[in-house]
Symmetry: C2
C-alpha cells in the first residue's frame, strides 16, 4: 500500500534503515539531516508501493557512493543526487516518473527522498539490496538482468560523469569507483533505470516500510521500557525477512579499520561472557560473524551491531573500543538467496572461502575451519 512520508516519520525510518544497512549504508544522522531539509521544502513525499506502479512507469534509482569513513566527514551539499538524476535523464532522453533506493542504509534510504522532495517525484518502496552492500553490481536488479549502465555521477562542484558500458555491471563498478576516488571519496549516482514491470520483477519490495517498522519498534520499546533488541528481533517474523536472532552480547575490545580502494575494510572483536568472543569482518558492511571459531552468520544474511541497551544501530565507522553491543543475525529474503544472487553477493564475492549457510540453520553453530 502506498503511503505518505512526513517529517515526524523520519527518525524511525532513518534508524530502521541504518539497522538494515548492516554496518554500512552511511551515517543515519547525515541522512536524516539531508531529508529534513528536503522535507522542509516539499512537506511530504509519496512512498509508492511497487505493486501500484504502472508497468510502463520509468524509475531511476539514486544513491550515494563512497567509503562510509569519508562520507561521515564530508557532508553532501544536497544538490548532487538530483544532478545525477537530471544528467541521466538528459543522456537517455527519458524522464523519471519515480525514484527508488538502491540499498537500505542510513544515507542511501534517504537520498531518494531528498531527490523526490526537490523534484516532486514519488519514491518506490523497494530497493535492490534489501540491506547495504559495498559494490554497485551487488543488486538484485543486476542479478535479474537489469543493466547498471548508463550511469551518471555528480559531485558538489557540479561536475558530472556518465558511463555507458553495456552489460558488465561489475566492470562498470570499477570505472565508477575510480571516479569516486578522484571526486574525493564520495559521489552521487543515478543508474539501473528500469520500467515499473522490472521493479516488480527484480526489487526487494517494501524495504522503506520495513525500515520504518523497525525504527518504530525500537522507539516504542524504549518508551515502554521493554528490551528493544529482543522486540526488534521478534518483530521480524511477520516480515519478508522472516527470521532474526540475537547472536551475541558483549563489549567491543578491538577495531581494525582501514580505508583502501574507496572501501572501509577491517574487523571488530567483541568479548562476551567468560572466554566467549565474536569477531565480525567487514567491507563497508558486516560480512561474517565467527563466535569462538564457529561461524554464526555470513553474507548476504544481515549481521547488525547495535547498542545493547537501546538497539541503536552502529555503523562500521562508528565502532569504538568499549561499546556494549548486541549482534543480531537476520535472514535475507528468498530472492537474495538464489544461486544467481549468491554468485553476485555471496561469500565468494567478498573473498570469503566458505559456503553460504542461512542464519536460521546456524542455531547449532558449525565449527569453523
Amino acid at each position: 500500500m502506498s503511503w505518505t512520508l512526513r517529517k515526524a516519520d523520519l527518525d524511525d525510518l532513518a534508524r530502521g534503515a541504518a539497522l538494515l544497512g548492516t554496518g554500512g549504508g552511511g551515517d543515519p544522522f547525515v541522512g536524516k539531516m539531508l531529508v529534513t531539509q528536503a522535507l522542509g521544502e516539499a512537506g511530504e513525499i509519496t512512498i509508492l508501493d511497487p505493486e501500484e506502479l504502472d508497468d510502463d512507469a520509468w524509475v531511476i534509482p539514486v544513491a550515494q557512493m563512497g567509503a562510509p569513513t569519508v562520507v561521515v566527514e564530508k557532508m553532501p551539499r544536497g544538490t548532487e543526487p538530483e544532478l545525477a538524476l537530471i544528467t541521466l535523464e538528459k543522456h537517455t532522453g527519458r524522464t523519471a516518473d519515480a525514484t527508488m533506493p538502491m540499498e537500505c542504509g542510513g544515507i542511501n534510504s534517504m537520498i531518494p527522498l531528498l531527490v523526490a522532495a526537490r523534484r516532486g517525484l514519488p519514491v518506490v518502496d523497494a530497493d535492490g539490496m534489501g540491506r547495504a552492500f559495498p559494490q554497485l553490481e551487488m543488486e538484485t536488479f543486476s542479478v535479474y538482468g537489469i543493466s547498471a549502465s548508463p550511469l551518471a555521477m555528480a559531485n558538489e562542484h557540479d561536475e558530472v560523469a556518465i558511463f555507458d558500458t553495456g552489460s558488465d555491471n561489475a566492470r562498470l563498478e570499477g570505472l565508477a569507483r575510480g571516479v569516486t576516488s578522484r571526486f574525493g571519496g564520495m559521489a552521487h549516482i543515478a543508474q539501473y533505470s528500469m520500467t515499473g514491470a522490472d521493479v516488480k520483477r527484480t526489487a526487494i519490495p517494501r524495504t522503506l516500510s520495513l525500515a520504518s517498522a523497525i525504527g518504530r519498534s525500537i522507539r516504542l520499546s524504549r518508551e515502554q521500557r521493554v528490551d528493544p533488541v529482543q522486540a526488534l528481533v521478534d518483530g521480524l517474523a511477520d516480515t519478508l525477512y522472516g527470521y532474526g536472532r540475537v547472536l551475541f552480547h558483549g563489549k567491543v575490545i578491538d577495531v581494525d579499520r582501514r580505508t583502501d580502494e574507496g572501501f572501509a575494510r577491517g574487523s571488530v572483536r567483541i568479548a562476551g561472557v567468560g572466554d566467549e568472543e565474536l569477531e565480525v569482518q567487514f567491507q563497508n558492511e558486516n560480512l561474517i560473524a565467527v563466535q569462538s571459531g564457529v561461524m554464526v552468520a555470513i553474507v548476504p544474511d544481515l549481521i547488525c551491531i547495535v547498542e545493547a541497551d537501546t538497539a541503536e544501530p552502529i555503523t562500521t565507522e562508528g565502532l569504538r573500543y568499549g561499546q556494549r553491543v548486541a549482534v543480531i543475525g537476520i535472514a535475507t529474503p528468498p530472492i537474495m538467496r538464489t544461486p544467481e544472487a549468491l554468485a553476485v553477493f555471496g561469500p565468494a564475492s567478498f573473498g570469503l572461502d566458505r559456503p553460504f549457510l542461512p542464519v536460521e540453520t546456524l542455531e547449532q553453530p558449525v565449527l569453523a575451519e
Copy 2:
C-alpha cells in the same frame, strides 16, 4: 592553403609527425597502419587550412590517450575515436563540421585522419600542442580559454565515458587519466570542441603541413644521399618554428624507463666524443637535455632523438642501448612561449626547477646547477 591527403603522402606525414612528437605521440608504424586502412575506405581526405575555416564551423578534435609503452603493445580496433566523437556530438547536440589533431605525433596526427575517413569529414591543418605533451590540459586551446570539457572517451569494447566538469582542465585530465588506466592504459577521446574562429585564435597552424614537409625532407635526403639530419634542421628556418640545431651526436648507453600513473617516465644517457655525455629526461615526451652538466634545451622547446644515419625519429619507448643517435633541438612557435603558455606546459609543469630558456639562446650552453 587546403590540400588533399592521399595514401602516397602517408609515410612522409607519419615520419614527420613522429619527429614533432619529440619522443612521444605514439608509434608512427601503428599510426600509419590505422590511417592506411582508413584511406583504403575513403580514398582521400581534405586537409583544411585553418584560415579557410568558417568562423561558425564546429570543430571536434580527437586523440588517443595513454602511456606510449602500453599503446605500442595494444593495437586500437579503429572504431574508438569515431565513437568518442559521436558520443560527444550526442552529448552536446552539435555535430562536427571538421575534426582536428590535439597534438603532433606518430599516432595523434593520424587519429583525426582515421575519424575523417570514416565520417567523411575534413581535418583542420593545426593542433593544440605544436608537438606532443603528456597531459590533456597542456594545449594552447586550454591556455587561450577553450574548455576541455565536455570530454567523451571510448574504448575497443564500445564502452564510453563522458565528463562535464566546467573550466578546470587540469582536474579533468586527472579524471580522464583514471578512466584511461581502468580502460587498460589506452582510451580515445574527443574534447575541446570549438568554433572555427576559436581554432584560428588558439591553435598552432599548419602542423600537418609541417610534419609532411619534415617527412619529405628526410625521405629526399636519404634518396639524394645528403645528411638527412642536417637537411631537416636547415629546413626549419622557413617555418613557423624558425630554428633548429643538432645538439648532440652519440650512442645510447643507458635507458631508465618505467610506466607509472599512466605515463612513461625516465631518462636516457647518450655518450659522445671523448667524455661528453648528454642526458635527456622524459615523461612520455623529452623534457630537458643536459650536456655534461650544461642545459642545452628545455620544454616546451622540442628535443627530438633520431637515428644518426637516417634521421628516423625514435620515440621514448623505442630507445635501446647501443643506438647511434642525433639529438635535435627545435624552437617552439611564439604562441607557445607566452607567460600563460609557460604556466601550463613550461618546465615547472613537469617538476623541473629551471626557468624556460629558448633553445636558440643556448648555443653557448648555460652551466647547470
